[in-house]
Amino acid sequence: MKRGSTRKIAFALTLSLLFASLAACGGGGKTGEGTGDAQNGGDQPTTLSMFTFTEEVQDSLLTESPVWKKLMENTGVNIDLEVISGAGADEKRSVMIASGEYPDILDRVDERFIDAGALIPLDDLIEQYGPNIKKAWGDSLNKLRNPKDNKIYFLGSPKNRPQEVVEPNGSLLVQYDVLKKTGYPKLETLDDVYDMLAEYTAANKDIDGKPFIPWGLWADSWGYNITVNNPALWAYGFTDDSDAYVDQETYDVKYFNTTDYFKNYLKFLNKMYKNNFLDKNAFITKYDEFMSQVSNGRVLAMINNAGQVSEAEAALRQAGMPERAYARFPIVAEAGIKDRSQVYSESYDNGMGISVNCKDPVAAIKFIDYLLSEEGNVLLNWGIEGVHYDVIDGKRVQKPEVTEKWTSDPNYRWQEGFNVLDWWPQYNGAILLDDGDYASPFNINAIYNSYDAKTKEVLAKYGAKYWGELFDTFGEGTPYGYAWTIPIESGSAAQLASMKADELRHIMVGDIVMSPDDASFDSKWNTFVDKLYKESKIDVWEKAMSEAIKQRLELWGAES
């Protein structure tokens, strides 16, 4: 018995040593391979390693795809792509920075890599080798300059051309059924929404035995930003400045949650609450509970990011309740305010850069330049002519079988390699290229064809072909971009203040909304604002943001 077990152990030990040494040899052989390509002559393609911090990249599908192979062929470089997964990305970044082991190209990196000295300035390279970059970016290149030394370190997807927004994101969402039963009312102000909900709930109380929640809120964690904070911004005609209220003349910043705009929006929520339009647990509802409410068709209307409910809408359609999916509308607090919720304010906080270790920066910048050429842009977004699209009457048209797979199989685009790298330095979406045609197949027709019958029916009632048509998408942005793209140094007093303020509003705002009368609403509001300044010291943040915005304006104004 014992003898047998010792023998078994000895055998297992030998075996494992064998495994280990075999594996070690295998591993050792591999490591030598990657390095030899640096000194290649002109004929051989240069191999450039690239790390991307975009975690959704399905690199194993992408790098085998026909479009990727064509891209390598056309640019004459060979990109060795590695994806840094989201979990642990911070540690990986620290290790990379500490060891200085950068790949040739770093993708989706932000100012932390600039601060670490990982990237080389691109100004001269662009000047010499980047005709397409210069053409595409134009004056917007200034918006890429690093505030510290006025140099350009990374390039993202340029947003300097008007985009016909096809799918609005943060907007008023209303169930089709509510619209239908109330006679497709014209919804302009918050009061219109209130009246519509009052009319609907008077006749319709519940669904499958559960009461309706006329106004949906998910105020837990960052849901606060998209269902409480941002809705107030949209309602008063601001762009997505997140926590900042920026005075458009002096560019002084106030914490948005201390302004009267926000107070008035809370008043609206308070009115909703007093009429039982809010769920009692609205401010503590967790994400999965909220999703369950939405996917059971209980939430009649809300202001939220449309992307947040797309899964729930799919669930509703699957459960045979397509009339409970949501229409998207612009909404303002009172007549006269102009909605700017979908207006794009040009600003960039990450992109693709060339590392200090790059063996061949010229090849790298030429590669990036190709991405911004018309040919590169069409290849990356439309795919290969004759395979993925045809040119009919001078216009690019996606092949029907491609469209079908595109909308039904989420992996298809990765397998083929087109229309996936939308943060890369290239145009995407419903933007017109210089040849007068769309930069990407993702345009009005494509989106219209993907709608179901119910959606088309509702759209027809409002005289639109797609939801974006109801919004002003070409409106005026802000000269400083989105305020949220301005980085606040981590660990600074300003950042601490904003964290404290965030905690405070999660605790107090729900209480304010659930005030029984105006007197207690006002007193709670005053305490809240008071505490923001006295306890959270939000004025420190306000000062830092004001300075950063002014600095950015100065920088951007420099040469434009």
């Binding site: 495994f19 280990a20 290790v95 999703m291 059971n296 797309s310 729930a312 992996n411």
Partner: protein, 300 residues
């Protein structure tokens, strides 16, 4: 004998109470796992609607299809098995040998070595220094990076040592008189007697090895060295980010019924895939495992 001690009513009551309590605890510990299994096999969109507790409402394998479509599945799986088998056997071997050495009172550096190992339990170099050590040793992109750093864990070392301390010294003396050298004593006397603790440690290390993904992430970039857990982590973050990346969402098509599964459901399926293989190991070592825990507890 059976009737020697009369059972009182209060004994029966206590037994009954114990049964109920233990059944309750059993359910409380088992239920979350059962619920995860149910959710993993339920249609993802249906799961969103909530209210699934005991049985899948709409049975599907879609969530698992996403995982098993993983392109590097076979490489990852083989690597995970390799590192688990080789890693746990090597680790147990070195732990047992060292434990025997520091359990010997006649070893002059016993105290010193022991303290040296205790220190490492409380003080760690941190990620970046460790990375440099690994790199300096040439372990980057090398399969040995899965084995060598995990060879010795002080906690397991001390557990094993305490167990060996409890073995009668006279056994070793007897073996010595019979002409056995130190190594022979270790292999022929100590090791067979320590099987309970050895199998316990083996299981612990195997679970550690099986669950490890961070070393793959930090120390390797060679796709041939990927492991199952690392690929699972990647699938999870891929699916989560494609939903959470709402700033870019306006550029993506999300309409049309193309959603088959959700990050939450993939998470559930991943939990199942990651857990089942290692759970299957338990019955085989359980015999020793239970024994080992109790013996160690009494004697240590």
């Amino acid at each position: 004998m059976a009737k020697g001690i009369k059972r009182k009513k209060s004994d029966a009551l206590l037994d009954g109470f114990n049964y109920i309590l233990l059944i309750f605890i059993g359910i409380v510990t088992l239920y979350p796992f059962w619920n995860i299994t149910v959710l993993a096999f339920n249609n993802a969109l249906d799961t969103l609607r909530g209210g699934i507790y005991l049985w899948p409402r709409q049975f599907t394998l879609d969530n698992f299809k996403v995982i098993f479509n993983m392109p590097q599945l076979s490489t990852a799986f083989i690597n995970s098995i390799l590192r688990t088998v080789a890693g746990s056997v090597l680790s147990v071997a070195s732990t047992a040998m060292l434990a025997y050495v520091i359990s010997r009172r006649d070893f002059i550096f016993q105290k010193f070595l022991q303290r040296l190992f205790v220190i490492t339990m409380y003080v760690s170099g941190g990620l970046i220094p460790i990375y440099f050590v690994i790199k300096g040793l040439g372990l980057r992109d090398n399969f040995l990076v899965y084995l060598i750093p995990m060879l010795l864990q002080p906690f397991y070392l001390f557990v094993t040592r305490s167990y060996m301390d409890g073995l009668p010294v006279s056994l070793q003396e007897a073996a010595k008189i019979d002409g056995a050298n130190d190594f022979k004593i270790f292999v022929k006397v100590i090791l067979p007697l320590s099987m309970p603790i050895i199998s316990t440690i083996l299981l612990f290390v195997a679970v550690d090895q099986w669950n490890a993904w961070f070393d793959t992430f930090i120390y390797t970039s060679d796709k041939n060295l990927t492991t199952l857990q690392f690929e699972l982590v990647r699938i999870l973050s891929q699916s989560t980010s494609s939903v959470q990346n709402y700033e870019d969402l306006r550029n993506k098509t999300t309409a049309g019924g193309s959603v088959v599964t959700t990050p939450e459901s993939i998470r559930m399926a991943i939990t199942i895939v990651a857990t089942i293989p290692i759970v299957l190991v338990y019955p085989f070592v359980q015999k020793y495992f239970v024994h080992g825990m109790t013996m160690g507890a009494v004697k240590g």
